[in-house]
Symmetry: C2
Subunit: 251 residues, 2 copies
């Protein structure tokens, strides 16, 4: 992990992301631009923060894919969320202190760190950004709820379809999709750990989705071939993402 110079792009990533969940005015954007964001490159499969840590920075994913996960006493890993550029996966550390889970990279990533103190100061002076960040953490919780539904109540096929639908929409609103496809660097093992399935079964399920002409997946890129079909299969309704401008699938 090497320290880099402060990038301008980092603030824009965050601003773009925040604008998907709450309208900002020019003052708000300036406030965000005023934040210190120390950007670091993090190698793939590295932890950013660990369960038990008491971080004094919040991080923003600038580039790459990040997971939140817990390791169980029996060694099993449960992935709780996938995070994409613009996300603030440990915003909660601001009020919870001790991490109850870990945060690690999937791909080579760039992560920006903002001191808690600066964010707290920002919350004091900007009720609008305060509401935006609170709302962000509530949307986070909403996504967790949908994941409970996923692992608790949906078949393997539906689970994986649902994950692909969610990722497509979330990536689309921050401008990281290309037509009907997006970069999907998770291994089948990662998907299994996220959805409570074995790698083998994830593989078979993906074969099925390919065979049904719903998706194509090659070279770490997922192509959605039949959005209505995939959405129907997943019973996917994007309302739980609480986007300011609800977005639809490809085409």
């Amino acid at each position: 992990m090497s320290e880099q110079t402060i990038q301008t792009g980092a603030h824009d990533r965050l601003i773009r992301r925040l604008e998907t969940i709450r309208r900002l005015d020019e003052d708000d954007r300036q406030d965000v631009r005023g934040l210190t964001m120390a950007v670091r490159a993090v190698a793939p499969a590295q932890d950013i923060v660990r369960e038990g840590d008491r971080p004094h920075h919040c991080c923003v994913v600038i580039e790459g894919f990040v997971t939140r996960y817990k390791i169980l006493p029996n060694g099993r890993r449960q992935i709780l969320a996938f995070h994409i550029p613009g996300d603030m996966p440990d915003l909660q550390s601001l009020h919870l202190g001790q991490m109850d889970h870990s945060l690690g990279t999937i791909t080579p990533s760039e992560i920006a760190f903002i001191p808690h103190a600066e964010i707290k100061a920002l919350l004091q002076r900007s009720p609008n950004l305060s509401a935006a960040l609170w709302r962000d953490s509530l949307i986070d919780a909403s996504i967790f709820r949908e994941w409970i539904v996923n692992v608790g109540a949906r078949s393997a096929t539906r689970r994986i379809s649902h994950l692909f639908c969610e990722l497509f929409i979330r990536l689309k609103v921050v401008g990281l999709t290309d037509q009907n496809s997006f970069v999907s660097p998770m291994t089948q093992g990662d998907i299994g750990e996220a959805m409570g399935l074995s790698t083998v079964h994830v593989n078979r399920t993906i074969q099925y989705l390919r065979g049904a002409q719903l998706i194509a997946l090659r070279d770490k890129r997922l192509y959605i071939l039949d959005w209505p079909g995939l959405q129907r299969e997943a019973m996917f309704d994007p309302a739980y993402l609480h986007l300011v401008t609800p977005s639809d699938g490809p085409k």
Copy 2:
């Protein structure tokens, strides 16, 4: 649902609950006491708010058991959380607007309603209570994460043991346990819908836990006969509840 007069007990329930997650001073308590809490009796198995609603009040459970749940297009219900007296299950509606899930009673309950406007005013003038409520919603999210682990990565026995451990601790810190037992009004069907299991399998699992002398369950009351054993079975670590004063099991 009949309207009742404002109760004094309602505020104390909420205060007691908030004090389990953040230290309050006398000013804070007075601020909470100043809130309008309209208490209504709600019959069992009734919805309090429904998915799609845009509530303009937050509710506080004063008496009874409440669930958060989603109904899937295929009719299946997934329970996302059980709520006990002192909880504010739809605090999120303050910033999310539209409900992405429903809230319903299990038992005859008393629910207090606080207008959003009053809470928003409170947040403006009290940074400490603002932080307490934000923290509350983050703990909520933390519990969701643990439920993902539950349904995603634990066996039926562990899941149910974990649920019982969680309920015991949460009820204990608000003073609703009695020695080693608590009122547990959920049916085996409810537990199944919460843990992603069939009623039949919940039944067999509970038989097993009874046989292993870990719990007793009769007349809607759960007795924890062997806390260390149950905790070990569940791999339960209460850190994720983020209590100010971490609490232990019975004995």
